[in-house]
């Protein structure tokens, strides 16, 4: 079937098999490998992308269902080369270790902050409760999102906790 959709602001038209899952379409057809493919059973949230305005688990959505819609992936978070405050937050607060869960976590975090600019730690935990991180114990993910909440509205380059590379802790 013919599929036309907009991903991160760019329109794509492709011929696909209707059974193709959105996560595989994004990764294999479009080469957008930022979204990760983890559990394959809608439990881990590594594959979370936005369908129009809401995050969904793209391992449980057919690419066909996105025809005529907008998809936003982690590659679309930064605008004009400027990182989103959520991305800055994960960097500033060490919100990742292996990074496998990170794209999904960030997509959900951006959605949460758009709807609730000043969430409590409990609200952050609730928002990411359908997503699994095997490394961080979640604490630093929550911190990162709260950091982003405190720095939303800046252009994303300010207030990044002095993390300008000079405090090199081997994170890069």
């Amino acid at each position: 079937m013919k599929l036309t959709l907009t991903v991160n602001g760019t329109e794509y038209a492709r011929t696909i098999e209707p059974r193709l899952l959105l996560i595989h379409f994004l990764r294999d057809e479009l080469g957008l490998t930022g979204s990760h493919w983890g559990c394959d059973t809608s439990n881990c949230g590594a594959c979370v992308v936005w369908l129009d305005e809401t995050p969904v688990k793209s391992c449980t959505v057919l690419a066909a269902m996105t025809d005529g819609r907008r998809v936003t992936t982690v590659e679309g978070l930064a605008r004009n080369g400027v990182l989103d405050p959520v991305q800055e937050g994960f960097s500033a607060c060490h919100g990742l270790q292996c990074g496998f869960c990170t794209p999904g976590m960030m997509m959900t975090a951006r959605w949460l902050l758009d709807r609730n600019p000043n969430p409590t730690a409990a609200e952050v935990r609730e928002a990411i409760s359908g997503q699994i991180c095997r490394c961080t114990g979640y604490e630093n993910i929550v911190r990162s999102v709260l950091w982003a909440a405190g720095n939303d509205g800046n252009d994303g380059n300010e207030g990044n906790d002095g993390n300008d590379g000079s405090d090199d802790d081997g994170r890069d």
């Binding site: 209707p18 899952l21 059973t41 269902m65 409760s129 997503q131």
Partner: protein, 297 residues
């Protein structure tokens, strides 16, 4: 890697179009709503439809309205929308209680109310909630529309009265007049956040002078017929809403359900859950209705 088998895909543009597609392709076609039950089943090849009829474009089936003394919920309403609806929460607290513990926020963004009901998984939380509220399902078919009680909707595990050429379009819940004091609640025990229930119970109670004038008790995942604790309801009707009777209702519900041992827990533990949850959820519903008999309300 789990991939569905080959399938054809049709995007419905209206209810009539969806019905025409279902009629054209016959029983090998399946309605695709949120896909959050159907796609996992297709990935495991437990379902292998030949054609999917995608109804996600039917945004007119996505609503929560009050029409006279009924709350009407469109089949395509996402779980998240029901959870956020003040109108639904104001009249039916049970719906918010249940939605809060269905899956996780991301699954709730896309899974639909009607898909949940049509999936008819014995562990589906909304089935028991709507059974407790004594709702009505509206089903459209080639011959027009028909209404079926929520308590007659499920005919068995993964089975409903919706025929292969029919579509569930909405759920209607009666809003009782204000002089009947009523309250509702839902309680679930799960192994971890976002998981399916080990067992769950929902209740709706209406009181007249401290006496139970009407009551609905729904049970999830414990083998209750039509998701209903009918014998416990019968016991409570006409009796004072006091602690002793609530405890007895719990015992009766536990006696009559048929839980099975599975990876979520042994049958005797589930039976214990039914006894406890039924009494507790009745208490919670009553406190919303204005209190237990013999207590200041």
């Amino acid at each position: 890697m789990q991939v569905p088998a080959q399938v054809e895909y049709e995007k419905a543009t209206s209810v009539q179009h969806a019905l025409a597609l279902l009629a054209r392709y016959g029983p090998e076609a399946k309605v695709l709503a949120g896909g959050h039950s159907l796609i996992p089943m297709m990935k495991l090849r437990l379902a292998q439809p030949e054609v999917l009829v995608d109804i996600n474009g039917l945004t007119d089936l996505c609503f929560i309205d009050r029409v006279a003394d009924e709350l009407r919920i469109g089949t395509l309403t996402r779980h998240a929308q029901l959870l956020e609806s003040e109108l639904a929460g104001e009249h039916f607290a049970i719906l918010h209680d249940a939605e809060r513990v269905i899956a996780d926020p991301i699954v709730r963004n896309w899974g639909t109310v009607g898909g949940s009901l049509c999936q008819a998984d014995p562990s589906e939380d909304l089935s028991a909630a709507f059974a407790a509220m004594k709702g009505t399902m509206v089903i459209e078919g080639p011959g027009g529309s028909r209404e079926v009680s929520a308590r007659a909707f499920h005919t068995g595990p993964y089975e409903t009265v919706v025929g292969p050429s029919e579509l569930l379009t909405e759920i209607r819940l009666p809003i009782r007049p204000g002089h009947q004091r009523g309250g509702s609640a839902y309680l679930k025990v799960a192994r971890r956040a976002g998981d399916w229930p080990v067992g769950a119970a929902g209740a709706a109670v209406w009181l007249t002078d401290g006496i139970v004038a009407d009551v609905g008790i729904g049970l999830t995942a414990v083998g209750a017929r039509h998701f209903v604790a009918a014998e416990a309801e019968e016991f409570l009707l006409g009796r004072p809403a006091d602690e002793e009777n609530l405890a007895r209702a719990g015992e009766i519900a536990a006696e009559h359900c048929r839980p099975v041992t599975d990876q979520r827990g042994p049958a005797d533990y589930k039976r214990h859950l039914v006894r406890e949850l039924t009494a507790r959820v009745l208490r919670a519903a009553l406190s919303r209705a204005g209190g237990l008999a013999g207590r200041p309300s």
